[in-house]
Symmetry: C2
Subunit: 333 residues, 2 copies
């Protein structure tokens, strides 16, 4: 099944969406919000799945056109957002561009940071940023949503805790990153908003493309209508999702509704392009000595989507414009 | 007013607690949970305050004995937990013990990391940890809870966004920290659980001890009944709470119910002792060349509390025992 949250209050309104993303039906009689569904997943998932089957069979009353513009993030706010950097080739490239070696341990010990789970935005929402000087970038990623995960489980056990899969744009402020990395306390101001695909899908919707640990399809990222990259998310993912989940749960349990991200999808050699501008700039720096692609400006549009082998959209598109934000009391307000 | 959440489901059951922490009354007719109260604070706060006044005047029906053992964390799960390291003297000491300089910028640019807001535990809950080798420590801190904070506000504006104040034990696994700091992505496995005081209080409950930005009272931390420290939380706090809030909100808004922590309370010279064992060990290292105080063992008990100038407890005591945790499928299960 595919699930979305229409904008409504702080937690949205749960709907089931048809496989082809054209029709939807209110799921409020099963669970009013996606978080409440995940809080009681063993009970709600079968009911949601039955509704999904009716919807896809055209046997459902009260359906309506599905409009991604009406969507909040599927979890409009969450209790835990852990973002990995699972494509180590990306990290290696970034370091190479600034002349730094990659510690050997980065190939065996996952990099994960805690993200802002109270700053999720919808697939068609603007991205409000105060200053272009901050180095506005997108990062196209795959995410999974877990149920309750006990502390100390193995990667093998973690496989059973992946309930939903989707895409995000992990908005990054590149020029704020070096200072924050230098302080060693992780990203904070440099990772403001995270945008989600219109729908999340259960693993069974993805067929052979999902092997229980990785999603084997190209992830497409475009800027102002021009494809920046379409690397395959199943290739060169050093740490698969079960490994990331087990890493995150090493010393404490994870709450149902935890969002675990892959980090920027990246393939060795970047033959199919990149899923963020930082990587494009690193490749330019390595090749030409300096980057020539600028970061995003106000008015720039980023699109992120994934299609199945038939070309059908799986999760719907993230499609957003960067806008200038004026803080309270500033001149433009 | 003083608010607590009795254990019930995932989000607890909101109660108003008397000033002397002896009596409580169900606040469910105003808001069923503290998060739902914070989601609509302008409306719920006056009603909760009226109930608090009735309770303190002994004019309230349906009151019952307040039992801290029945408490979850006041927010049993939250959308955002940002923990500062606002007492820079503590950071300086830790660095001095390992022979590292403190960057000058640490005195002007706040250190903040994103904590695990889905791993909050109650004031009398056990602290489950798998291995003593991880270096189990407590950190006694002051926290504030915000309402919705717009992005880009000033420190001065941030003063109006502090709704509630309380204490936490930021459980830390010291031996996992060096590896995580080395990766620069911030704390993750090394910061598993955060325990909260039984109640949170509104600023007006704290009288002159709260100046709108800092809480001027000693914070007492004890291990197995022996006082480890009682530094004054209002002294040597380099970055006050409004400054921390403005730092956190620089590039995005903060959701109502955001928890902002002070970091380990610490005074220059540590004359009144320390609020974590790491600081005790650093002082020993600087004095004797090596630490002699061990980290916590299974069975150790940590108590954290703050009393007003009359000696009355303000938030109730955090009082917890470290227990051994066995992951699923391990021998002891």
């Amino acid at each position: 099944m595919k699930l979305a949250s229409l904008k409504s209050g702080r937690d949205g309104k749960l709907v089931v969406v048809s496989r082809d993303l054209t029709r939807a039906v209110d799921a409020g009689f099963i669970a009013s919000t996606l978080q409440s569904a995940l809080d009681d997943w063993a009970k709600t998932a079968p009911a949601l799945d039955a509704l999904s089957q009716q919807l896809n069979a055209g046997e459902c009353a009260g359906t309506f056109d599905f409009d991604p513009k009406a969507c909040a993030a599927p979890l409009p706010r969450a209790y835990h957002w852990a973002d990995g950097s699972a494509y180590v080739t990306h990290v290696e490239l970034v370091r190479k561009a600034r002349g730094a070696d990659l510690p050997e341990s980065f190939w065996s010990d996952p990099l994960v940071y805690m993200g802002a789970s109270d700053a999720f935005i919808g697939p068609r929402d603007d991205i409000p940023v105060q200053s272009e000087d901050w180095g506005i970038d997108f990062e196209a990623e795959v995410v999974v949503i877990t149920d309750d995960v006990p502390a100390g489980i193995s990667s093998e056990q973690a496989r059973d805790h992946i309930m939903l899969i989707g895409l995000v744009n992990d908005v990054s402020l590149r020029n704020l990153i070096p200072g924050e990395l230098g302080k060693q306390f992780g990203f904070y101001q440099s990772k403001p908003w995270t945008s989600f695909s219109p729908v999340l899908a259960t693993p069974d919707e993805l067929g052979d493309a999902w092997d229980g640990a990785r999603l084997h399809l190209p992830l497409r990222a475009s800027l102002n209508g021009k494809l920046i990259g379409s690397p395959n998310a199943g290739v060169d993912m050093t740490f698969d999702f079960p490994t990331l989940i087990a890493h995150c749960a090493k010393s404490r349990s994870l709450m149902a509704g935890t969002v675990i991200g892959s980090g920027t999808v990246s393939n060795v050699g970047s033959a199919d392009g990149s899923c963020c501008l930082a990587e494009v700039r690193c490749l330019e720096t390595i090749r030409d000595g300096e980057p020539k692609t600028p970061f995003m400006s106000f008015g720039d549009r980023v699109e992120i989507e994934m299609r199945d082998s038939d070309g059908s959209p799986l999760f719907g598109a993230i499609d957003q414009v960067v806008t200038r934000y004026y803080p309270p009391g500033s001149q433009a307000q």
